[in-house]
């Protein structure tokens, strides 16, 4: 199920999976003269690919397409908690994906459920030894051919005996091969001891807060270089970096509800991460939030006016809209296909426009995690206007064509080892019906009064969300808010509540948006779906909904820790959390 879990839990090994690739900082406008000679790795890949193409042309059935992708990754992961390092990892790896298509672009081995037969992965040597690289690629290619060829015969038989599919698009789009070898930014040095010290120090700030039971600071520095070559003649080389600092803190209410706060910071280099003052302030805020949340009442199910902060609205759009506009879902007959037949129709209020633009590196100074220059199928990243003034225009396309959309628009994304599908990069929602952010609260109160209700909800921050897009289950989505306020119509102070999830069905929810704020906010996260975990961004202004439904969140009933944490042995512990007067007025 597509999801956008921003939560990354403790152990660094798990991070290896999330360390994917965010290709950044390559200027495609560079003049051809700036191109450099391909590296030994790329030239070894090209040479072996040519040999494979020529040799396998004699096989029956022959492949009509082969590509090699290699992800060369230098990874550092530092994990700290309570002032100590918990894990410190650094390493390099090179993962190779061999993709092959047997048959023809009209019908090939990757058709339908046989899609995984299009790829075989393995680890390459991490040093530039031509013979060893060529030999591992040969083994992977031979293995892949032995999967792809029988799969194609299977697909052909199935196509003959099954009823016609609704979408008769071919299996692979025609694209112009790309040749671009960019050295881009040189890789940056990392002062590991200094960062270990910082991770220790940041994590030690939580030692002041006995009510924060679990806290982790994770620094993840991934310098990835992607190499791509295909039998169509593409040859690409591009560097990318992903630097993320993730701070995670957890507590538990007396009724057992887990309460979580996560803050993440993203930058192109470790030095561009926010300074210590900003981070310590964030940590203090997280601790204060958690303390307040422990004491906050549990919200009741509600259906009424609501205000979503920009970050909350961004996650809402990523889940509710973005995943449903991924190209491959429009031809998969197990999918709900909410929007498949709605091209040219009004699907959102007319004041909203949605684009997905992976070519953007930042938005108003905030780095965007979903930036890349070419996708995992070697197609140039493109800005795609998916919804213009509320009217559906386009989908997020990989090289899997769908009816009326025969070409990729550079959104074929995957984590190494998985077949790419249409995915989001930087999803950006903009609006023409705006009010200054400062007026949003009053607009919410107006709406509450208009509907004759006592209160509405303000969703200040979210930790992520998920959605179901399949046909077999209801077309539902859930956004997981962490900071939610009740805003009263009678002028009472706002009241913090906990334990609510936003729920609903896409078409209804999207058309309850009344107006928006004027400043976009960015949510950077890791998105998981069929093609794996990829870094994404979503940006949107705050949004006022005339109606939004929330449900009670399921939670554990495990009590908070019985004894106070070490260092607080004399603290009076276990007394029920008292509701502190939440008199804040927001936003």
């Amino acid at each position: 199920m597509p999801a956008m879990p921003k939560t990354v839990s403790g152990i660094a090994l798990r991070l290896l999976l999330l360390a994917g690739l965010a290709l950044s900082l390559v200027s495609w406008a560079a003049p051809p003269a700036a191109e450099q000679r391909p590296s030994l790795l790329l030239s070894a890949m090209q040479q072996e690919l040519q040999r494979a193409t020529k040799e396998l042309a004699k096989a029956d059935p022959p492949p009509y397409f082969i590509s090699y992708s290699v992800y060369d990754q230098q990874l550092i992961v530092l994990v700290g908690s309570q002032g100590s390092l918990m894990n410190a990892f650094s390493g390099s790896r090179r993962d190779a994906d061999v993709r092959m298509r047997v048959g023809s672009s009209a019908l090939d081995n990757t058709h339908g459920e046989s899609r995984p037969s299009g790829l075989t992965s393995g680890a390459l040597p991490i040093v530039d030894e031509r013979d060893a690289i060529a030999r591992v690629l040969w083994q992977l290619t031979d293995r892949e051919y032995k999967r792809a060829a029988p799969a194609y015969l299977n697909v052909k038989t199935n196509a003959a005996v099954r009823t016609e599919e609704e979408d008769k698009s071919p299996d692979f789009s025609q694209e112009t091969p790309l040749t671009k070898v960019e050295m881009g930014h040189a890789s940056f040095p990392v002062d590991r001891p200094a960062w270990e010290e910082k991770v220790r120090r940041y994590s030690s700030y939580f030692r002041k807060y006995p009510e924060v039971y679990q806290s982790t600071v994770i620094l993840q520095i991934s310098q990835t270089k992607m190499y791509f070559t295909s039998s169509e003649g593409s040859a690409l080389e591009g560097p990318g970096t992903l630097v993320r600092l993730i701070v995670q803190a957890e507590t538990r209410a007396d009724d057992g509800m887990e309460l979580l706060r996560v803050e993440s910071f993203q930058a192109a280099t470790p030095d561009q991460l926010p300074g210590e003052n900003e981070i310590s302030a964030k940590i203090e805020k997280m601790a204060a939030d958690l303390k307040a949340l422990r004491a906050a009442p549990v919200a009741e199910p509600f259906d009424g006016p609501a205000l979503l902060s920009g970050r909350a609205a961004a996650v809402f759009f990523h889940e509710v809209l973005g995943h449903r506009l991924e190209g491959h879902r429009q031809r998969d007959e197990n999918e709900g296909q909410t929007f498949t037949k709605k091209v040219g129709q009004q699907v959102l209020p007319g004041f909203l426009t949605v684009v997905d633009d992976p070519t953007l590196e930042q938005l108003n100074g905030t780095p965007l995690g979903g930036h890349y220059d070419f996708d995992e199928e070697g197609v140039l990243a493109n800005r795609v206007e998916i919804i213009q003034n509320g009217v559906l225009k386009n989908f997020l396309m990989s090289r899997m064509p769908i009816q009326n959309f025969g070409k990729s628009n550079g959104h074929g994304r995957a984590q190494p080892g998985l077949m790419p599908t249409g995915r989001q990069g930087n999803l950006i929602v903009s609006s023409t019906r705006t009010v200054p952010d400062a007026q949003l609260r009053w607009k919410l109160i107006e709406e509450i009064k208009k509907q004759g209700m006592t209160y509405g909800l303000y969703f200040e921050d979210v930790q992520g969300g998920f959605t179901l897009t399949g046909r077999a289950l209801p077309q539902a989505f859930q956004v997981l808010p962490v900071i939610v306020w009740r805003v009263y119509a009678d002028g009472r102070p706002d009241e913090l509540v906990r334990g609510v999830d936003i729920v609903g069905t896409p078409l209804t929810a999207l058309n309850r948006i009344a107006l928006t704020g004027d400043t976009p906010q960015v949510f950077n996260g890791i998105c998981g779906a069929e093609s794996g975990s990829v870094p994404v961004s979503a940006a949107a202004p705050a949004m006022l909904f005339s109606e939004l439904e929330v449900q009670k969140r399921a939670h554990s009933h495990t009590r908070p820790p019985i004894l106070p944490p070490p260092g607080f042995e004399s603290l009076s512990w276990g007394a029920p959390a008292k509701a502190s007067p939440a008199s804040e007025v927001r936003p």
Binding site: E55, G83, D131, A132, T558, I562
Partner: protein, 572 residues
């Protein structure tokens, strides 16, 4: 060499200390008066070690606090708590086709915390009640260390409460014929061994892997060649609420070679010899390692062209010590551990020997002993050695099979029927629960013969039965499938390598009924696994075993040839 002597001296100290280390008073109660009744040097050692070890201090501090205060309303307080912290330092590298593919250094501390609610008779050790695992801080910061212990203890206690309820509900469904306690009492043990560090020349070994894996260039018929290593230093800390405090270390040095080829008929052929030793000084020399790789490649080349075995053979088979140790490990080692069956099951243990207590399971001339206190055999280090097991119980030799009769089981602190106490065989992987396990499993025989004599006996039997040849098994792969198998011809005694064979019914019954002689050539087989162990076995001669052609599909040969090699190995 260094770690060897350290290990040896620590064990000597342990041996000299003998019973004196078995302090009965829990450490918390072991005040100066109690200390006065014990010989001073030993207790001082432990106290000194604790005083200079922040990790042990943190473990003891949190244990003391939990023992005194951990209690939920309407739930009994824990009657037992233990913490096991494994500090793991590891260097791993791998080279393929003459190029480095992976190199990693790892340093991690792992915790397992067990909290038991109930009593020794019936407690919460069941399902989620078997303990909590987590990572521990790498820094010796008391608050950070204790914080993780605090969280794990709290969760383990809550899980224990739920587990006990679930267990009691489950047991209501059964009539228990022979009630057995859930947890064995064990004397408190205080033992401090030296801390172990890795001391191998890692860069030199990495270069050797690269050089060995480059040998594929001389063997065009070999499809893949991979050389890897894993050097590990483990220091384990254990404390429990009964007063045990132990710390001990172990190093493991492992080298692996993996080669694969395909016979012209498509049959996949693999070889994966490895070396595993407890001290870096025992690692092979570069020349020995290269020779080992060359030998593996040569046998792969020979295997490709070796004949496939005939459809069926039923007759004598001789197992060389390497192959014999695999047979002993699986058929004896796997079955002499005293694992309590699931609640309600009437058997004594699990597996083929679950009801074989006091029955004959091997011929009367064979005995099997497990002795973790043995540190070397014929000057080879034994990776199954330890002084204290993973439940804080002192290691001890155990005769499990005496003159063919099953007389005992290897036991941890989980009792089984008629065996109420641990015999120091409770072992665990770094974060796993403790289970009874093999340490150093040794085959002993009252009559032995030289390998030549065994071969002569096999050929004689073949002759009597009118068979043109018998079988010699040199090495086995997974599931006891032969890797290096020879026909030994009766007429002139020559050995012919064959491929594509499996054994039919190589099981405990066959071992009991068909083992007719053992060699005087015992060899050490150090075996990796989440719990390292050693098997020491001589050659074994079976008078009858069925050797059959393997029923495995033959894969297609590569669809196109491998890439040509460039003139120079490095082309930068």
């Amino acid at each position: 060499m260094k770690s060897a002597s350290r290990k040896a001296s620590s064990l000597r100290a342990f041996a000299m200390g003998g019973l004196l280390l078995l302090l009965c008073a829990p450490l918390f109660a072991a005040d100066e008066h109690a200390a006065g009744t014990q010989p001073a040097p030993q207790l001082k050692d432990v106290k000194e070690a604790v005083a200079s070890d922040p990790l042990l201090q943190a473990m003891l501090a949190e244990l003391k606090r939990s023992k005194a205060q951990l209690k939920m309303e309407n739930v009994p307080a824990p009657y037992y708590i233990d913490y096991r912290v494994t500090q793991l330092e590891e260097y791993a590298a791998e080279a393929i086709f003459g190029a480095l593919r992976n190199e990693q250094r790892l340093r991690v501390r792992l915790l397992r915390a067990v909290v038991r609610v109930g009593d020794y008779k019936q407690d919460s050790y069941f399902q989620q009640g078997q303990g909590m695992s987590d990572v521990m801080p790498l820094d010796d910061d008391p608050i950070a260390l204790r914080h993780q212990l605090w969280l794990a203890t709290d969760q383990a206690y809550k899980n224990a409460d739920e587990a006990l309820t679930a267990k009691q509900a489950l047991l209501k469904q059964y009539t228990v014929e022979h009630p057995v306690d859930d947890f064995a009492r064990a004397p408190a043990l205080q033992f401090i061994g030296p801390l172990i560090r890795l001391d191998a020349a890692t860069e030199r070994w990495r270069d050797l892997l690269i050089a060995a894996s480059a040998l594929y260039r001389n063997y065009p018929q070999v499809e893949s060649l991979d050389a890897s290593l894993r050097f590990t230093a483990l220091n384990q800390y254990f404390v429990n609420s009964e007063g045990s405090v132990t710390r001990d270390g172990q190093s493991l040095y492992q080298l692996n070679l993996t080669g694969a080829a395909q016979a012209p008929d498509g049959m996949r052929l693999e070889r994966s010899p490895y070396t595993m030793v407890a001290t870096s000084s025992e690692l092979p020399t570069p020349e020995q390692f290269t020779a080992e790789a060359t030998k593996m490649l040569e046998t792969l080349v020979r295997l490709r062209l070796a004949p496939v075995v005939e459809e069926e053979y039923r007759g004598p088979v001789l197992f060389a010590p390497d192959a014999a140790s695999d047979v002993i490990a699986l058929l004896i080692g796997g079955n002499v551990v005293g694992r309590k069956p699931s609640p309600g099951a009437p058997a004594r243990t699990t597996g083929p020997f679950s009801n074989s207590y006091k029955s004959r399971v091997l011929p009367a001339f064979v005995s099997i002993v497990d002795d973790p206190t043995l540190t070397t055999f014929q000057s080879h280090s034994l990776v199954g050695s330890y002084a204290v097991d993973d439940e804080g119980v002192k290691a001890a030799p155990v005769t499990v099979i005496d003159k063919g009769e099953l007389v005992n089981y290897l036991l941890g602190r989980q009792p089984i029927r008629d065996f109420p106490a641990s015999n120091g065989h409770g072992r665990a992987g770094p974060v796993g629960p403790a289970f009874p396990n093999v340490g150093n499993l040794i085959v002993r025989a009252s009559e032995t013969a030289s390998p030549e004599e065994l071969m002569r006996r096999m050929l004689e039997m073949c002759k009597e039965q009118g068979k043109p040849y018998g079988y010699l098994v040199e090495t086995l792969g997974g599931r006891l499938a032969p890797r290096l198998l020879y026909r030994v011809w009766v007429n002139d005694g020559h050995m012919e390598l064959v491929r594509g064979a499996v054994f039919n019914q190589l099981d405990t019954r066959t071992l009991r009924n068909n083992l007719i002689a053992v060699g005087n050539d015992p060899e050490v087989s150090n075996r990796p696994g989440s719990v390292p162990s050693t098997v020491i076995s001589p050659s074994l001669l079976l008078d009858e075993l069925e050797v059959r052609r393997a029923d495995s599909a033959k894969e297609k040969l590569p669809d196109y040839p491998p890439p040509p090699l460039t003139a120079r190995r490095t082309d930068r």
